[in-house]
């Protein structure tokens, strides 16, 4: 037993020391480095994969076109473990490398919040995908958003449901996490402006397993349309199924999760005829189609908004650095803010003073399992 114990401790020590030894053996090169914080472990691991794919496709494209400032672009990634301290550590690790010019942040708003103080200190541009409207109102000049924030998704859902579908009696179903809560809030506010009523505002905890109570509440409320903010596919699918089982057929306009491929697979027929807002929709523009084609060549899954925003971020960043003509952070910042009319996979980027690049959403309709592009609603205020 003694030998085993000692042996174990030695092995442990060696195992722990090895990476440091390995790392010092690797060398440097003259590429332009961009840093990326993404979830490789933890519950967000799947979305991390798609984000990386999107970024890599964009990277290849940029490098084939000559790179940035005549240098090839390289992506340096760090795992954020899908936690807040993990994101902070990942970002600060990247930030400690002085040759990284700009960064891609997280799609999760709480992680971006957590990283914000370090981002402020590092004083270099960070492109992120989280949709909490607060993130661009922090007074932090280095945050640039590459997806339309939740105030827009709420407005678009409200606009489509209340105007296009002419339904004024709403049941709002939203997850109780950060995304769902802020989305639900945004939707409620917007509905007021369209003269619609909120008959039910129902939060549910993630990984609920059963939605009978929620469905019954919807039936009881007498609503004629559902607006939803679901975070997880499986929750969405279970809800959808129980909705149909209990005989609810009113129209349903949901947040982007209702449009993603896996949700469609899980929900099946229960999701036919539903509407979703999506920042990324393949048929919304030629650029979106181009992204889809490139994505499909590389990945085995369908393209979605996890990869489209990182694709656009790399694109916009590269263009901005080239326009700025230098790696000086302030110059890059000015160039990003001056970006107008950039046609990306997510839509047309027109950066406002707060750092928001997109101001609208696409509406998609579920036609028997296939997401069909309906229209794009944009707000120009």
């Amino acid at each position: 037993m003694k030998i085993t114990r000692r042996g174990f401790s030695l092995a442990l020590g060696a195992g722990v020391a090895m990476p440091a030894v390995l790392r010092s053996a690797l060398g440097q090169s003259n590429t332009l480095k961009l840093g990326m914080v993404l979830p490789v472990t933890g519950p967000g691991a799947d979305s991390g994969k798609y984000a990386l794919t999107g970024a890599k496709i964009a990277l290849d494209r940029v490098n084939k076109a000559g790179g940035v400032l005549s240098r090839q672009v390289e992506l340096v990634t760090e795992d954020d473990q899908t936690t807040n301290p993990g994101a902070v550590l990942a970002f600060s690790k990247l930030a400690a490398q002085p040759d990284i010019v700009a960064f891609l942040g997280s799609i999760r708003s709480t992680q971006n919040h957590a990283m914000a103080p370090d981002i402020l200190k590092t004083a270099k541009p960070v492109c992120f995908g989280g949709t909490d409207p607060q993130l661009t109102k922090l007074g932090n000049p280095w945050l640039f958003r590459f997806r339309p924030n939740d105030s827009y998704s709420g407005r678009v859902i409200a606009a489509y449901g209340a105007e296009t579908l002419a339904k004024k009696n709403w049941a709002i179903v939203h997850s109780t996490d950060a995304f769902g809560t802020s989305g639900g809030k945004a939707l409620t506010e917007s509905l007021g402006k369209f003269g619609a009523k909120v008959a039910l505002d129902q939060g549910y905890p993630n990984q609920s397993q059963d939605f009978t109570a929620v469905v019954l509440a919807i039936k009881q409320s007498g609503a004629d349309v559902i607006g939803s903010y679901f975070t997880f596919d499986n929750d969405l699918a279970i809800f959808a199924r129980q909705l149909r089982q209990l005989g609810v057929t009113i129209p349903w306009v949901g947040s982007p999760s209702i449009t993603v491929a896996n949700a469609l697979k899980l929900g099946g027929a229960a999701l036919y005829g539903t509407y979703g807002v999506a920042d990324y929709a393949e048929e919304s523009s030629p650029e979106a189609k181009e992204f889809a084609a490139l994505y499909r060549k590389v990945a085995k899954t369908e393209p979605d908004n996890y990869g489209s925003w990182t694709y656009d971020a790399i694109g916009v960043l590269s263009a901005a650095i080239n326009k700025a003509g230098s790696t000086d952070p302030n110059k890059i910042r000015d160039a990003i803010l001056a970006t107008k009319g950039y046609k990306g996979a997510e839509g047309e980027y027109n950066f406002d003073q707060y750092g928001d690049g997109l101001h609208g959403y696409n509406i998609l309709r579920n036609e028997k399992g296939k997401m069909v592009f309906d229209k794009h609603i944009e707000f120009n205020d």
């Binding site: 114990r5 709480t110 919040h113 957590a114 109780t176 950060a178």
Partner: protein, 592 residues
Amino acid sequence: MSVEAPARAARRPFHLLIAPAHIGYFVLSALVVLLISRATLDGYILNILMQAATYSVAVFGLSVVLGLCGQINLAQAAFFGIGAYAVGLGTVDYGLSYWICLGIGTIAALLAGAFLGMTTLRLGGHYLAMVTISFQQIVTLVMINAVGLTHGPDGVPSIGRPALFQTSQSYLAFAVAALAIIGYLVWHLQDTRLGRAMRAVRDNELAASVAGINVYRTKVAAFAISALLGGLGGGLFAGGFTYVSPDQFSFAESIVFLTMALLGGVASPIGSVIGTGLLILIPEWLRFLKSIPGLYLAIYGVAVILIILFMPDGIWGFIANFLRRFVKPVKVATVPPLVLAPDRTGTDMVLDVKGLSKHFGGLKAVDNVDFAVRRGGIHALIGPNGSGKTTTLNVISGLYRATAGRVVLGESDITDLSPHRRTWAGLGRTFQNIRLFRSMTALENVVIGAERRGNSLIPATGGYAALEERALAALEFVGLGPRANEPITRFSYGHQRLIEIARALAANPTLLLLDEPAAGLNSTEKRALHDLLERIAAQGLTILLIDHDMTLVSGAAQHITVLNFGKRIADGESLGVLRHPDVIAAYLGTET
């Protein structure tokens, strides 16, 4: 059920550590703090150290409740979160100063921990685990859903820091300084009276209660301290990272804290720091493994199992056990001989048992038994197997609650008192299967006995020195003085029994209950035991003895009470009772 306590060799108690060790600790800590505040550290290192320092404080809490007291706490992240949110909400929503918020958060966590402990510590083991998990889940749910109070899942950004420590680097220095001070106090805890009580409870709850320790209150105190440290760590954390959100304080995080405690060595704050440091650094070192999702955590899971298998004392325990071989044993001082001064107030009868009954469902283990023990001398309680002797003893000492009847010790009716209060009233006992505190030395075991409240032979201002002197005297008395600083595990069965007796004697009882003291002894040891009993009686201490060895009983006891099937069948002067036909029939049977 207790956590396994690591067997330790003679360890210099904290207060006996030479002054240079204490001074050295503070000097070293001050140097480290100075280094941190001056050196150029990049953001990454800063963040790692910040996380390690604040998490370590929370893990200290686990080293107290789990390592020291053997009680499981799976809600440490909830207490951590309470402290963090107090600082977050206090500075952001209410504009209070950081220090006040830190204080509020720590106290809130303390109260929550005490409340939780009070309601559930009467159960142990799995139940405690489940309650702490439930509490953790409820706290997380409240954090997420009580949006008006907690900002909900968005979390609280831009948390304030104390005016003196606004920069990250100075705050880190502050956090490390706090860590050093708190660590010192936790390290010191195990040699305080409370710390000893906790260790006794961990090692053997029953023995602890009978040695005069209020087990329940000790556990609650341990739990409360653990929660306090969790809250303190959380408050420090909030100031360090300036952003908190509910997802950081979930059950998963409690498991992380627990693993950190176990990895480093749950018994000591040094282990806590090692475990925390490693578990924060290792994921950073192993980032290259992250390319395959799940691989890193799968290895993590296996590693946890392996550590439990091969390094149960954790890393520090492993190192400490190794180093201990080089520590010279502490020399034993010479002390004046043991004095026993049992309370002589009240009647002739030191113990009066009237109409005592104990029923277990339909089984009447003890059925309406009366007997009295005269002051001075040795009284024996005998009977064939299953006659109810040990049950009677257990009712007298408070481990069972009597179904009916009264027990009077001297002038006090002790029928409804808990075991530790009976010890305070002057009752002492030993157990049939020896119950010593296995992680401690002989001396420490006996010191705990001496420490009981109401021990008239320990002066109030005596401090540890007085306790140690009396304990040594007791060990001398039973013939084990020179070996006082050896761990229990090094003693033979017979000697362990003597140590148990010494522990009871050190408490200066009025009545000493001995449950089968001769069991497992050879004839030489039995003669020595007989001698010991005579010497005890010579000092005026009354003994009530249960045993099967008739030679010992008839030789030592002046008065015998006999039980059979839970009823008293004989009571009187020894020789007469032993010749009584009913007694002979009970033991040997009759011819029908």
